[in-house]
Symmetry: C2
Subunit: 252 residues, 2 copies
């Protein structure tokens, strides 16, 4: 879509938006994907500007906030049935001043927005996101690529806060269910933690902590086929895993 058409598209949307949505409020989903031992984040690029954005949107006047973010994610990326957790509110008064700077002040999208950030960790190889009509593309972008790309508004800061929340979370809550296959090895699980934390972990400490937590159980099988010694297979102990989700791993 050329620039004139994409500008027209925004202006048309603005009229409708004033009827449908609450002013000044938006929601931005930060969906982290885990795939091929890499952490990725789901981003869009709109027809109008060649900058990357979180697939966010506005809240309908007659809609609960929790409903809104689920609808927004699905309508903008095609991804549905995913549990989103709120992690922060971004309310600096100038945060979205520049993105729409060459539009009239009356444009709905140009007003001040305070945005609510939601995050989820997702098994990204199961999904093919699809761009909506206002977007040129919607893709999984590797976290290691983020420093090189242009992100609009404060979306880099929002992604960083989400990642920090995810890192804090794994010190007190288990993760891995739905992200790893039913049977996995401890090196697989360690790799997941390392990718989220962005650092390598000491193997002995990691194994001890995981085993003390009780969230995994060793199966009577090994993984075959590698050049090395066949590693033991594990699966999550569903009962202990659920308990740890509720009570935390390090409760007093």
């Amino acid at each position: 879509m050329n620039e004139i058409d994409s500008r027209k598209q925004f202006i048309n949307k603005s009229v409708e938006a004033k009827e449908i949505y609450l002013p000044h409020l938006s929601a931005d989903p930060v969906i982290f994907g885990f795939d091929e031992n890499e952490l990725k984040v789901l981003l869009t690029k709109m027809n109008y500007r060649k900058q990357w954005l979180l697939p966010g949107g506005y809240i309908k006047k007659e809609e609960d906030l929790d409903e809104a973010v689920v609808r927004i994610l699905e309508s903008r990326t095609g991804i549905k049935d995913i549990y989103l957790e709120e992690f922060g509110v971004f309310g600096r008064k100038n945060r979205n001043d520049f993105y729409f700077e060459d539009f009239e002040d009356s444009l709905f999208q140009k007003q001040r927005f305070i945005t609510v950030g939601y995050y989820a960790l997702y098994n990204s190889h199961e999904s093919n996101p699809r761009a909506d009509e206002i977007s040129e593309t919607c893709e999984w972008i590797r976290l290691t690529q983020l420093p090189e790309i242009q992100l609009a508004m404060d979306h880099r800061e929002i992604i960083e806060k989400a990642l920090l929340t995810l890192r804090e979370k794994i010190s007190s809550k288990p993760i891995g269910y739905n992200l790893l296959p039913i049977k996995f090895t401890l090196p697989d699980l360690q790799k997941l933690y390392e990718v989220i934390l962005g650092k390598t972990l000491n193997r002995g400490n990691f194994y001890r902590k995981i085993q003390n937590s009780g969230i995994v159980k060793k199966l009577k099988e090994q993984r075959r086929g590698g050049a090395h010694k066949s590693p033991d297979l594990y699966s999550f102990d569903y009962e202990n895993y659920t308990k740890a989700l509720q009570k935390g791993l390090n409760h007093w």
Copy 2:
């Protein structure tokens, strides 16, 4: 203030509010006080209705959200210089339908508000909160009293979520600095944890976890004067405490 006057006060405020504040957005501070070995929460009661409320307010059009909540807390309670942490957003569409039900729909305060919750843990014996002009009272209410009092809108739910956040927090971050005197005993610290968690803890486990964390150091003094054996005094190890605040107590 009688009911007619308090209604008039709301209507007068409404006109001014439309000029000053963003629509549909509010912030509610949940300030937990620790005092006399009890956990308390700071609540107000407005002139208009005899229900308890968090000391919340609206966001100015030209103000960052973080600035707003600090200003709101000070203007409504007199309490200032306190670090507030966002813990949740409350966005059910009918959440504030009833409080202003006997006013015209055009009243600013009656519109749908999505509210941002902030919490802090505060040494409440150092402060005397004072009510603002729209409030009859502003007081520390003991958490054990909450089941008996009438709370407006979804403020009970907001307080519960804040408390849950505080409880989760102490499994991964140290607390106590600013809440305990410079020299304290391990039973003092244990009491603080027990009051927040709402349950008694095993003494041996608690002492071992605290000592392993490295956040306290034993002094060469005992507390004198009790009928029992004089207990050892401790103080926080500032460096380790700060490190644990940043990295978490249970990092991988």
